[in-house]
């Protein structure tokens, strides 16, 4: 587990913006008819979400990501999860990655709670056997009891959140990616959720947590990086968080 690492070199990531209209083939064909560039994506707007980012993390690093809305935090987490490909530069991750970015991942409202737990576990990379072994523990943690045999669409919002949280956090990860501290549910459940997340964080070699909550970052992180318009500050010690915020 000591060889867990993250390494980004000159990472740039751009979003092509496909206008709502351009999504229609009709318009695309019309463009060809009047002599536009065939199949060319150039000239279309692109949003640069990350530019020239360098980042080296090793086992034991707990990195907090701060930055204004739209500064590229979520995009970086998605890139680290392997979902977004870099446009330039490289991302290298050693270790099993768990991305807790969007809790509703893979939640199918028409399926039962149990089916959703299985599905979520399989997506996270567990084998069918591993999922079955953890099923009882997840079910118990969710506290949903008999509701687990009912379709998720019959749940209240908080119950859905409990299920999603219980299923999503039933993984083991060397690299844990989190968009906001995701403890959810009512007061009682939140306490449990905090404890469970902490355990997950302790076991993980590396944590990358994006949050707007400075106190939270101080609590769980030992390093911090600030994003601004897709450009990242150098990684600094969490003690210098105030200076970073002021800069």
């Amino acid at each position: 587990m000591t060889n867990v690492s993250i390494s980004c070199r000159d990472l740039s990531l751009r979003f092509p913006v496909y206008g709502v209209d351009a999504k229609s083939l009709k318009k695309h064909l019309a463009k060809i008819a009047v002599g536009g560039k065939l199949g060319s994506h150039h000239g279309s707007t692109e949003v640069t979400a990350i530019s020239g980012l360098n980042l080296e993390l090793k086992a034991g690093d707990r990195l907090g990501l701060i930055g204004h809305n739209g500064s590229g935090k979520t995009t970086l987490l998605r890139a680290l999860s392997g979902a977004y490909e870099p446009d330039e530069g490289s991302i290298e991750v050693n270790g099993h990655i768990a991305a807790l970015l969007d809790l509703s991942l893979g939640i199918d409202p028409t399926a039962t709670g149990f089916d959703n737990i299985r599905l979520r576990g399989r997506i996270a990379g567990l084998t069918a056997k591993q999922v079955d072994e953890r099923l009882d523990e997840i079910a118990e943690f969710s506290g949903l009891g008999p509701f687990l045999a009912m379709p998720v669409k019959t749940y209240s919002a908080g119950m859905q959140a409990r299920l999603a949280f219980a299923a999503a956090t039933a993984v083991e990860a060397d690299v844990l990616l989190m968009d906001e501290w995701i403890a959810v549910g009512d007061a009682d459940f939140q306490k449990l959720a905090h404890r469970r997340l902490l355990k997950l964080v302790e076991r993980a070699g590396i944590l990358v947590l994006a949050s707007h909550d400075v106190e939270l970052l101080r609590l769980y992180c030992n390093k911090v990086m600030r994003m601004e318009g897709g450009v990242a500050s150098p990684v600094t010690d969490i003690k210098k968080l105030d200076e970073l915020m002021a800069a």
Partner: protein, 278 residues
Amino acid sequence: MDTATHMLRTGRRGTLFEAQMALRDLRTSVERIDLARSLAWHDVVSRYRGSILGPLWITLSMGLMILGIGVLWGGLFRVPVHEFVPLVAVGIVFFGFVTTTINEGCDTFVQAAGMLSQTALPMFTFVWRTVLRNLINLGHHVVIVGAVLVWAGLWAGANYPAAALGFIFLVINVAWISMLVAIISARFRDIPQAVASVTQAAAIMTPVYWPPDRIPEKYRWILDFNPFYHLLQAVRAPLIGKAVEPHSYLVLALMALIGWGLVFSLFANTRRRIVHYL
């Protein structure tokens, strides 16, 4: 859990590199075919949760349709019922697989948007999910084929190895078409309607509901130039005691080669972008 996982992602490094990455996506999806299977089963089970008959509902409605068309149109075409019903039964069941796998292909990536944007799962996994889900449903409908073949007395005379070979050709070809429409539909949202019209037209142009030998010699080319005709015949003919024309295999093999070549290069070129289309 294996800690030996390693992920390396880089910017574009030329065509060859993109092809290698696409190939790696394919390889990983095959290594983790179990996941695609779980997703497919999940789809089938959750879609029919709470219903008594499950996918057999569709089997049932197919059965009724076959009975109706078989008896009524058999009279219309003046073909004996024992000959016509098997033709239509095998046709509807297998052509149904072709059309639904292609039509549902349009949703393959669109439906998986959430997963694709926060995991490193191979994209091919979702293509297999669509194909496997339809294979599972076909597994239910095949009951009709069995029953009809027994009833018509064609059961013993059927050439099962040839039918199996034809079925392999069918699946290989339907899979690339399904993936093709998956990629294009992710980018252009009006494609699913277009695909639906094409498959609907194909169902009429292809002798699914009518006997192929009824077409006048001078219009034979309509069949020969219809890829769906060859797809269907390769499976159906051996089951109802007819021979597959050798050139059908040639057409299917060429179609598979060219089709997969085309789709693979399209995938290699769009792989990075698909998640942004969604």
